[in-house]
Amino acid sequence: MSMAVTANAPARRVNPWLAAWVVALAATVALHFIRDQVPWAFKFPRELVWPLRFWISDFMKWLMEGFDLGLFTFREFTRFISWLIDQPYWVARSLLSDGFLRGVGSDAVEVFPRLSWVAVIGMVMLMGHYARDWKLSALVGLCFAYLAVFGQWDSAMITLSSIVIAVPFGVLGGLAVGIFGYRSRRRELAITPFLDLMQTVPVFAYLVPILILFGFGPVSAMIATIIYAMPPMVRVTLLALKQVPAEVVESGRMSGCTRRQLLWKVLIPSAKPTLMVGVNQVVMLSLNMVIIASMIGAGGLGYEVLTALRRLKIGEGIEAGVAITLLAITLDRLSQAFARRQPDVHQDGGQGAAPLWRRYPYLAAAIAVMALTWSLSAIAPVFRNYPEALEITTGAFWDDMVRYINITFFDQLDGAKNFLLLNAMIPFKRFLLAQPWVAVVGLVALAGYQLGGLRLALLTGALALFMAVVGQWPKSMISVYLIGMAVVIASLIGIPIGIYAAGNDAFHRVIQAIIDTLQTLPSFVYLMPVVMLFRVGDFAAMLAVIAYALAPAIRYTDHGIRQVPPHLIEAAVAAGCTRRQILWKVRMPMALPEILLGINQTIMMALSMLVITALVGTRDLGQEVYIALTKADTGRGIVAGLCVAFIAIIADRLISAWSVRRKAELGLE
């Protein structure tokens, strides 16, 4: 990649930058020689560490206990919000999982039963048919049947009821913020940093304040889910509204739309296909949070996964994990189909003539199914709960498989691991940790200056400086090392797969299914088998990060190469290029901006796994956040969380700036 850059760039522009980099690197090396004279450049002086974490702790304490808004305190306000969210949640949960109860706690008496599992399956199938066709209906029906047959029903319904509430909040909230930002450029600029922070500061970092402000239980978990899952919706909304062609907006204006009409009748309908990408992301990210939400008290499938793995029942963990993936697939496919659905065409003019059930056949059928199963479940318990005797499990199979691999292949796997660890990972880690922070901050700023000018240089430099000033430099560097290694490996695997998938439709479809699964299957599920095979430590952590971060590397490469304009390929063929030449001289350079975006997303995904890596014993920022959580030290957690976010932002801004420049040079924009 870098070869392509230097080869294409005009010679006279390379030189001053080259000189600057040589000087900067020489200065870094020089620092090593005078190491004893400037110890502060290598290790940030402890007494100068900015006590930000204590300020944050104090501020949060005040916010949670002292902040009075006059009529009520801040905490009463947040408790009111959680009460609001609790209302629809209570309905969903009663309907799907608990049944309608009278009273609370163990005294509660069931007044009316929950929906029978038969009814729920029937209703999703009806939705599938309504939204598209029998094929979709069968798919979602099978997904839900899995939940019943594999004994995941009760947990899955708890998870589903919080997801069906959290997703609309995330989508509508994201839409509202996006529209707010669309109205003016300045607002958009003000929103963006918050979006970055919401997505990259690990949830564990602000968990304790959330629990205190919103109370213990599922609502807090939902709020954490919404915070994490909303940003993509905002981004997509901004993008989608901007992409609406000017002619469409003009014609709306000419026909005399008010501002509101223009928004709801013109802009949003035309932006709908892109907006649906945002909905998809909200669904996926919400289900991503299921495990962490269950640590806060959401229960459900996440809790099943956690407890199964704590007992090392790997098979049970996999089954519960797959249930999460299937829920994701169902919700995603249904929401996509609903969005693409053509409105019904009413054929008969005399509408009053047709009976109600005929005008609303799906609704009637749904009500019929509900009523039928409710009455049947009073007689036959089969309808109430899926019979336990008919549940199946493949748990033993998975446990045996892991055991077999462990006993048979451990030595080979261990050898490969040790080779990589001793020859690449450990040296790279030592190298990064040995560099003076002063020099690294300078180099990051220089890169910013070269790619995006003074403003970018100030931003990247300041963010890097922050990590040193708050005393988190070594842990930040370990994070950079871990993420860096994972991203390099994920790119080395993902980009070739993406290139191949771009040229082969069958392979493309298979790979899509695999990466969808990788992204929704909770990483905890494969983390434990990975630990069994590779022991606790950096390597196991890195493998888990790679598995999760692989998806964008593949997806964007595939997409980028497919988007190369066909006339360019034809021109290359006409010019007598070989296939290899077409790939390396035409396709790859043209797809580079898109691939860079993929790498950018790979970094983001990798960083979002940092906290999870702490669960298998790394010593990075993830661990810092995790320690802070278990010590209920809010300030410490947030500061470490900010460091994670800042690494992400630096990487994002540098890569985006590079991508923009490449696009400009290629004449793509």
Binding site: S106, I212, L629, A632
Partner: protein, 327 residues
């Protein structure tokens, strides 16, 4: 056919009506109180993510139910729960281990918003542990002095020639780094992030009969499933941790084994006034390590259902728990 659907639709409307009436009557009647207990508001017991705690909490919950109290179980993080116990969002935590939760508990008690509800009768044991098959490679065990001679046997390529000791999660501070230094052990301490990861590694090593030396705590199913022994260090005293002069190494503390610890119950202060009888019963709660380990094994290894195991305990120990709730 049309008629059937029509009737079905009617039935649906009827069903919806039923729900509505049910809810209204339900809400109206929910204030009816039962005599005998101070308050019918639910007492919220916290649930964490290990089986033993699940069992103790459910036994307590069942006993309180028998006494007429209203009980609710709420899942909450082991340490983060203190925030809820202080505000009264949560009421009782049944297992707070001295070995892992003492610091957080002391901080919380100092606020005056939570109270110590006494010991559960169980002892938390934690120490370095090895599977029995390692004794062949290191015959001097379980005496800790043998550890240095066998460092090579316990090593991995990353740590060689030092031995590798897999410590507990960093958050469950156990002073292992200090212990290694004070006792001059030729070992590298590797921290597992979670106990799930810890036992995953043990399971893997055990399947292959591979060397492993790690931190284990009890009561836990692993002690029952895997055959092994605790390393015997110089016995713990308070002086060992506080006074460097104590023990083999005159310059450093921590030159001994780990302490046995209590497991305590903690509660929201306000609950004492609201449900005095229930708090008394919680204070009376006592079980011992053996019966707890037995129940953990039945659930985690034999695959019995939690509720069945708890019910069996209730039946068998009726005389015992009746005393807890007796006036």
């Amino acid at each position: 056919m049309i008629k059937t659907i029509k009737y079905a639709a009617l039935a649906g409307v009827f069903a919806a009506g039923l729900i509505a009436t049910g809810l209204i009557t339900g809400l109206a009647a929910s204030t009816s109180a039962t005599a005998g207990v101070e308050s019918k508001d639910p007492i919220i017991l916290t649930i964490h993510d290990w089986t033993g705690q699940y069992v103790t909490t459910h036994i307590m919950g069942e006993v309180l139910k028998k006494a007429g109290y209203n009980i609710k179980y709420q899942q909450a993080d082991y340490i983060a729960q203190f925030a809820g116990l202080q505000t009264g969002d949560l009421h009782v935590a049944m297992e707070m281990w001295e070995t892992t939760g003492k610091q957080a508990m002391d901080e919380s008690l100092a606020t005056g918003k939570t109270i110590d509800l006494g010991e559960t009768g169980m002892d938390a044991k934690e120490e370095w542990w090895y599977p029995l098959y390692m004794k062949e490679k290191c015959p001097g065990l379980p005496d800790w002095k043998a550890l240095n001679e066998c460092a090579e046997a316990f090593s991995t390529p990353e740590t060689a020639p030092k031995g590798r000791y897999l410590g507990g999660p960093v958050t469950w501070a156990g002073f292992d780094d200090e212990r290694v230094e004070a006792l001059g052990l030729n070992y590298e301490v590797v921290h597992a992030g979670t106990d799930a990861a810890l036992f995953a590694e043990l399971e893997s090593a055990y399947q292959r009969k591979a060397p492993i030396l790690l931190w284990i705590y009890a009561p836990h199913w692993a002690v029952a499933k895997f055959k092994g022994e605790w390393v015997e260090f110089p016995e713990y005293t308070d002086a060992c941790y506080n006074d460097p002069k104590w023990g083999i190494n005159p310059n450093m503390a921590y030159d001994c084994g780990k302490p046995f610890g209590w497991i305590k119950k903690v509660g929201w202060k306000g609950g004492e006034k609201k449900w005095p009888g229930a708090y008394k019963a919680i204070r009376n709660f006592k079980v011992d390590n053996d019966e707890m380990s037995q129940m953990i094994v039945e659930i985690d290894l034999e695959g019995k259902k939690l509720d069945d195991v708890v019910n069996a305990w209730m039946v068998k120990n009726e005389a015992r728990w009746k005393k807890w709730i007796a006036n």
